[in-house]
Symmetry: C2
Amino acid sequence: MKNVFIIGCGLLGSSLVRRIKKKKVAKKIFIYEKSKSNISKIKRLKLPGTIVKSLKDGVINSDIIIFCTPMSEYKNIILKINKNLTSKHIVTDIGSSKQRSLKMIKKILKKNIFWISSHPITGSEVSGPEHGKQDLFENKWCILIKDKKTNLKHLQSLNSFWKKMGSKIVLMTSEKHDKIFSITSHLPHLIAYNLVKSAQDFEKKQKYDLIKYSAGGLRDFSRIAASNEIMWRDIFFHNKTNISKAIDLFIKNLNNFKKDIIAKNNKSILKKLSQTKQVRTKIIKLKQDIDKPDFGRN
Amino acid sequence: MKNVFIIGCGLLGSSLVRRIKKKKVAKKIFIYEKSKSNISKIKRLKLPGTIVKSLKDGVINSDIIIFCTPMSEYKNIILKINKNLTSKHIVTDIGSSKQRSLKMIKKILKKNIFWISSHPITGSEVSGPEHGKQDLFENKWCILIKDKKTNLKHLQSLNSFWKKMGSKIVLMTSEKHDKIFSITSHLPHLIAYNLVKSAQDFEKKQKYDLIKYSAGGLRDFSRIAASNEIMWRDIFFHNKTNISKAIDLFIKNLNNFKKDIIAKNNKSILKKLSQTKQVRTKIIKLKQDIDKPDFGRN
């Protein structure tokens, strides 16, 4: 059995720690966490694993190293651990955007170190180790980034690790990954933030107290617009080219929608509104959401 | 005790029927439903009340008349029942947009008939009488439209009726109503439809199978983008001026967001992403959404 080093123990990192312990996936777990408040929480929650004070202690004692910090912290951490890394280490991260971070990693990572990037498609609007759950990855996709140079032995080990976390694995290039998630995840978050911002602007301008009427639709968007700001700033900056294109497509479609509304184009509007309905059915069939009206929340 | 006539027995209408029966609010319930498939469902579900074959039978036997059809059907129905209406009738509707429909109603409704418009802030992405629930209105806002000419006695009766449905009442002009809900409900629905449409366009163009990765955010939007297309077409057409303005504000903000992302404007982005977070906290405090991460769905 291997030793695992979790760098950054927030929602995702602490969920890994819980799962590793429950499924007895590692001999030892090492945790590095920068935030004093999170360290207190980890101790209070009695999460399994040894909190290390230096990154070096974690690296030299572990076989698998998992970056669970915001992507903007990768560079500093790599520079600190570079000299202690060996080709035997399985190094990965769980960041939501890949091309740009992998470019930076390739540039600064010591030679003959194998970094295979992971992206488990899970999360929540809440952050911090107190919200982690051992089943956070259960039946969720985990994308592993594969290119021509990927070390196949390490890839196999990582594949096996994520399966033990409960994930279903898909291999993909970083380019394809970033395109797909610009649409299924990054644009939706941006749109949610932007909608809530627009409601705030309107409220201020009109002096109407409108948040109390958010049950009509706005409340759905407010959930993902409450996601961690550092994490999402990093994603927006890292995948800016694809996100920019996604915004352009979205605005083009929105302007067409507006035209149809103003012209009362019955046929075109009904076509749009009924076609989008099919996506919900597909999402539920693919078990990507709960099969209950209103997310089963009432 | 009064007799109630429900015109249109879908999600909302059937919820009213269930609640009226449970709380013994009416002596008799009459139901008019155009769709044969819904009539079969109503019979199979053994919903309380008498299904009438003509609108006239419902009107002449009832004290309270509630329009629960899509707004585009109001006109035809009014023209059919006009001659049977009296000033004693309390007539209302539950439509989601008010100015335009009230203008039309004023124009064609027989003189000395009092119509007071209602809007219960509740609903679901599913429709049809099989999805109705007696507690659909429980602790939800119900907006009653009041202007200078509103008959205060009828208003009081309607107020009392909605309280028995479980609603919390607010009085508002139709102008204020349509502005507020263009932002808290109509724009969010339009945005959700548009996002799902954009994802479909992207999928077609790139030939990527991306709906299966919708757990990253898109799935949240797909829920309200699965709402009834006739109902939402009517809302978009009826409140088109306010919705147009809301779209313009949204696009202006989205373009600013895009600029900030391209320029990597750290300060501005972080300000946006943290301010919107506060809205979620407020929504939960106001009990407009469930106080559990991820809508409690996992």
